[in-house]
Amino acid sequence: MKGADLVMKVLQQHGVDSIFGYPGGAIMPIYDAIYQSPIKHYLCRHEQGGAFSAIGYARSSGKVGVCLATSGPGATNLITSLADALLDSVPLVAITGQVAQGVMGTDAFQEIDVLGLSLPVTKHSFLVEHIDALEDTLHQAFALAQSGRPGPVLVDIPKNIQLADVGSALKPVAAPTASTVANLPTEQLQQARTLIAAAKKPMAYIGGGVHMAGAIAELQQFLTKSAMPSVTTLKAMGSVAKDNPYYLGMLGMHGTQAANLAVQQCDLLICLGARFDDRVTGKLDSFAPDAKVIQLDIDPAEINKLRQPDCAMLGPMQQLLPAMTVATQCQPWLEHCLALKQQHGWRYDHPGERIYAPLMLKQLSDRLPDNSVVCCDVGQHQMWVAQHMRFNHPRNHLSSGGLGTMGFGLPAAIGAKLARPEDTVLAVSGDGSFMMNVQELGTIKRFRLPVKIVIIDNQRLGMVKQWQQLFFNERYSETDLSDNPDFVALAAAFAIPGHTISRKDEVGDAIEAMLTWPGPYLLHVRIDEQDNVWPLVPPGAANEDMLTERAQ
């Protein structure tokens, strides 16, 4: 057997059933091995799209996503997606072909220093330098991608190694090491329980680390038993049980007023697998200014990175959360939070007959089957999705958080649909973002993937336009997209039916038609270019200083 065959065999050993990629010279031996491999390869139409599909596959299923690219331009096309996976801690294995070792370092055709390029955008990366190291390296890549804080791992394989002979006996896959620890940090746990029991205004600040640690059930029990209000980051939406009355929604720049106000007022902030990102905290010095902080994470580098905790624990959330549970004494605070939530609830009473995206997304959310996956792009529509759709698990809401990458939604939806063929999968995109990986319609066409695409069309790079309006004296530099293509005709070119709507009274039927159609479908939703996302914490402001629509 050849190195290339070994690659496919190891992927199989790790339970990989789908991979996403694009062939080229330096990876042809692996593509030759794919030809007879039982692993299904999905041809993307741009390596960035393929890697986003692998991310969508990983994020919607909890498994490792795998993507492939050739040397040079293929590998450079992966960089954005690797960065996206790094900042959102997505377990991803990227395999790139490299020119043969004999010509490496000579500026050979399609040679670029991929290992060097990978340094800041991966959790770790390998250049395989000998056929004898190939098998172990691939196993390590899978282990690293999933261990601790997950992330992308790149394996660059020179062509001569793909072609080298290797024995056909495979080493067994090491059993995954249990993520449990024998000795819990009893002293800090005691300290945490004391802080929680003594707090008058405790608040749970929940990030993506909780569901990535498989600790959703433990979290929900913690929130019930140690009754306290909670807020989530963009990545953690869906972590809190739908019927938890004290869940206040997303916090941060476009968070709910209730979430932001309550966090500013709390006296104990329990940070669970979150990282005090600037889109969450606003002005860092004034974030939750009166709160003591308990911080739980799996990544030691997150502890005390931006905010000094009073009590910090590293370890498996599944064990720490039950051990930290203690009764709270904060009834007045709970009631206060309920009142905040009521006072600042969303309003959907929008005048006129034009479609109001928040209302339309709420209608869509109400109509979707429970385990649907919504993949977002980046911009105003992304924030509206986070604000107005409800999710019952973070795996059902895929949004590019840390990197905020336009073009994420459509390919991510392809990966999600392949990981979860039984579930309804939607891409909610903007007229700007959709065009960034529009070529992936070709992938949908080829595999007849019944992905539903909703384009929220404001004929603008809306989010940037909103900032120009608010902070750059209404100087609308390069954000006008009023010459957009005909999106329905564009979809039709890929044999995807579609429909355009622009009035509120069309919304219900249009959603119904899209969801009941058996195949892929594109719903083009025209909205007013003036519509903006509210509330908004302006740059440099504290989170209680939100701008709201009514104040404008």
Partner: protein, 118 residues
């Protein structure tokens, strides 16, 4: 403040680049660098002199996450100032878990344990 870090690495050609990239990206200034192969085992011994106004743990915690970094020691002017004394940060497992990182164990607790004021 000035710090000296000694870092033991696996013998990976790219490890020096990784260390330098992390140091630059995290905003620390390199004022001196020594690199030598380790005599006993395959690997490198790096000595970095670092100047920065930022707390040095913001660098060491990131360097420690590099898979090729096997051990990192900090020789600072004021070790105790790394973590405020009221912050009793101890880890759920002893430092022995360091190597376990590379086998996929979740506990990558390295420096935290070695410099935690007790």
């Amino acid at each position: 403040m000035n710090h000296v870090l000694t870092i033991q690495t696996k013998n990976q050609t790219v490890v020096l680049e990784r260390v330098l990239q992390v140091t630059r990206y995290r905003g620390f200034q390199l004022t001196g660098l020594e690199m030598k192969p380790q005599s006993s085992k395959a690997g490198l011994l790096l000595t970095l002199s670092i100047a920065s106004d930022k707390p040095i743990h913001l660098l060491t915690s990131q360097l420690n996450k590099l898979v090729d970094v096997e051990q990192l020691e900090l020789h600072s002017e004021q070790l105790a100032s790394l973590y405020p004394s009221d912050l009793k940060m101890r880890v759920s497992e002893p430092l022995g878990a360091f190597n376990a990182r590379h086998t996929g164990d979740a506990m990558s607790t390295t420096l935290l344990a070695s410099v935690t004021p007790q």
